[in-house]
Symmetry: C2
Subunit: 235 residues, 2 copies
């Protein structure tokens, strides 16, 4: 069965968290909107009994699931990217939900007044929000990731247990976006995040992920994406 991913074209966005899981596992999938255009997302959603509030959503035969964290909960089992142990499976999901919270905060930095208006219409507000994001939120999240790696009874090579899970992939993606958007901030913070850095390096060097990152399926980050590089927000 070929998985079908439905997500906006032109950005990595939230769809990238699903792509990384599929790519890491070598699972066959179609990135449907990239083949057929963005209109296919609404065309398909409008016919579903369980329409997702927003993309991404994934079809696996007749099963449809939306919301990044729910999709990864499903794929974690199917693609062996989550522990079988029920507690660790739940912990993996909890980490994913926290990464999703962080990614949303990373987006809202440049859209504090709402996603419906352009960044240029909310620059003063973004400047204020970015200050708190840089000084309080990013350090707090990074400290939490370092802490849970430190406390992993199986060692700090992975977020959960002693092997790769979708949480590791998602941490890599979130940190990639963060570093793209805030290179000056992260130039200061990376030396304090050795364990997070090591996980990100491990993910980046997985053969399947390295091949994906070098392919034209991996889009470059840009200023329509969740994480955006606006130099004034990273002084």
């Amino acid at each position: 069965m070929i998985y079908e991913l439905y997500y906006w074209t032109g950005i990595q966005g939230r769809g990238e968290y699903i792509r990384l899981a599929l790519e890491a596992a070598g699972a066959p999938y179609r990135d449907v909107a990239r083949e057929e255009g963005d209109h296919v997302i609404a065309d398909v959603a409008n016919r579903l009994a369980t329409p997702s509030f927003a993309p991404p959503f994934l079809k696996d035969g007749s099963l449809v699931v939306g919301q990044v964290s729910a999709i990864l909960l499903y794929l974690g089992d199917k693609l062996d990217l989550a522990p079988k142990d029920e507690r660790l499976r739940l912990w993996t999901h909890q980490i994913q939900l926290t990464i999703a919270d962080f990614v949303l905060e990373g987006h809202d930095v440049h859209h504090p007044v709402g996603a419906g208006r352009y960044y240029e219409e909310q620059k003063p507000e973004a400047l204020r929000r970015a200050e708190e994001f840089r000084e309080e939120r990013v350090p707090k999240f990074l400290d939490w990731f370092e802490t849970i790696l430190e406390r992993n009874p199986e060692g700090p090579a992975h977020l959960v247990g002693d092997r790769l899970s979708y949480a590791d992939l998602s941490l890599f993606q979130a940190m990639s976006g963060l570093t793209y958007a805030f290179p000056k901030l992260m130039g200061k913070l990376w030396p304090q995040c050795e364990k997070v850095n090591a996980v990100c390096t491990t993910v980046r060097e997985l053969p399947a992920i390295a091949a994906y990152l070098a392919s034209d399926r991996r889009l470059a980050p840009n200023e329509n994406d969740l994480f955006r590089h606006y130099p004034e927000l990273d002084p």
Copy 2:
């Protein structure tokens, strides 16, 4: 086994989504910080191998789980508040994640510049964000809830299948907060949300929930909570 809920005192907050599930099922639980003070949250979290990034978290014997949606995923199975069918169980979770997104937007209306500063320090920004929230986001979410109730093959009495799930409880709680915070807006919108309204009424009238809402365990909404009533944001 008595469940232990760890969440801030003084507000319904995100802890309320867990309380409603426990109360609806008649499950025995301790609301630990209300008994021992807020300090117990950090005291316990600091000793855990799997510390939650933020409250709430739940202990069930030696199992600990944080993030509202992950806690409800766990309790849904334990308390029979989610379908056994794997697809419907996942759909219930997807709905919960969307409700959680909505609740966060409801919070960020009054804290667009960041949770670290008082509302009074970000009123102009909040006025701008509230406009988009009232005119675009709330109608879009309500329309989605109406749509998925409409498309439920088992009828619109519940969000999933033909019986109560934690998604119904969470919808009730989110709508309670929204109506408290935006009474004028909701005075206009409730007549367009008959199916959502019916689900909320069903939840409110469940004997276990009605008893809970009348008890002193149910705190009144207030201006430290996620949803806050600031009349200037609901003109």
